[in-house]
Symmetry: C2
Subunit: 207 residues, 2 copies
DNA sequence: TAGATTGTTAATCGATTAACAATC
DNA sequence: TAGATTGTTAATCGATTAACAATC
């Protein structure tokens, strides 16, 4: 089964977060209405989502947390480690590289790349290499996921280079809406200004 | 007219970006099918969105860019300046404070707050004050929008304090799904791990 | 067993797209 | 005028919710 829908996968991530929390505090099973309430969706939505992915619970008995976690992790590809690179070691790029609070070991930021020689360094937790080495690094290490944190004007070029070298999924923090350069590449744009404009609209609307 | 729908407002921001670009390169009017193509939506969508906000074009003549820009800016509240504060002057918080690439003057990040005295400083472009002063600052300056960039465990508390002091819209970068503490507050969560999980799902799906 | 919860189908809701009359 | 584009209504599409039989 193939989903085009981004939202269902976001919910899968959120269900996972919720059940990790309740596992930690000692739960061994969980019901769709409780999980829904804690995640902020309806019980129907929970059961529907699980059903679409073939996740089965126990009639009358809810879902076993360990089984559920295994199933959700499998959907999200968390059984393997994903190596991720970052283009741009400026403010945002370095902040993301320093992000160590992933809840699992399955996502690893392995390298940054920057054109500025002053920023290159092999000493940090995440080394910063010259941008010219990015394409080879992607190929040599079979990297599939990249983060773009370069200034606006370079963003489309960087994306094109990433895709040419084999990257298949990109998270873009540059303030431009990037076009997917090929069918094979999935891009998600995170745009601070647009997010703030959105919030401001809803704040003003209520006045 | 009140829209609950976040997506239409995101598109309004994107239309704005697109027409700013075409204004810069000399366009004075624009057609729905061109604007749609450049923004990545259908022409129907463009006209429908405009129609919902009462934006009128010229039959046969498209939309005048200046009028359109004025109308979109008005929707997004860009006629006034919005002062924004940041809680947390760690990696992410400082990176966001250093973000100077807003396309307009209408969003101003005016202060950061942090519990760590080492991080407080009045010298940067954006001053960093002690966290204990945040609530008073919000009240004294009638701040309505806040960004949360504190560690996970503090996030819900910080949000509660912001809202109590008068903040009405929050952009949360902490890796927890924050509950809206009241009806009057709009919250949007940006979660790096969830974004990456999403991308990884779509990358793996195609394999 | 009786009661509660799942899994799935049907109904509803909302958003997007298509179509086309109006008209510049 | 003829042709092209808007503005809006209707049709379609997709996602969410409700309902309920199955069953533990």
């Amino acid at each position: 089964m193939i989903f085009k829908n981004r939202k269902i996968i976001l919910r899968i991530s959120q269900y996972k977060s919720t059940i990790i929390y309740y596992k930690q505090i000692g739960f061994t099973k969980i019901y769709s209405d409780f999980l829904g309430e804690k995640t902020g969706v309806t019980a129907s939505q929970v059961r529907k989502d699980f059903s679409l992915f073939g996740i089965k619970g126990n009639k009358r008995g809810g879902y076993f947390i360990d089984d559920l976690l295994t199933a959700l992790n499998k959907i999200l590809g968390k059984e393997d480690t994903q190596k991720v690179i970052i283009a741009g070691a400026g403010n945002i790029g370095s902040a993301l590289a320093g992000y160590k609070k992933f809840h699992s070991e399955s996502i690893k930021i392995v390298a940054c790349f920057d054109i500025d020689p002053v920023k290159t360094s092999k000493k940090g937790v995440v080394p910063v290499f010259p941008y010219s080495e990015m394409a080879d690094f992607i190929r040599d290490n079979a990297i599939e996921v990249g983060i773009v944190a370069v200034p606006e004007v370079f963003a489309q070029d960087v994306v094109n280079n990433m895709v040419k070298a084999g990257i298949r999924g990109i998270l873009n923090f540059a303030p431009v809406n990037i076009k997917e350069p090929s069918e094979d590449c999935y891009i998600n744009n995170v745009n601070l200004e647009i997010e703030l404009e959105n919030i401001i609209y809803f704040v003003k609307k209520k006045e």
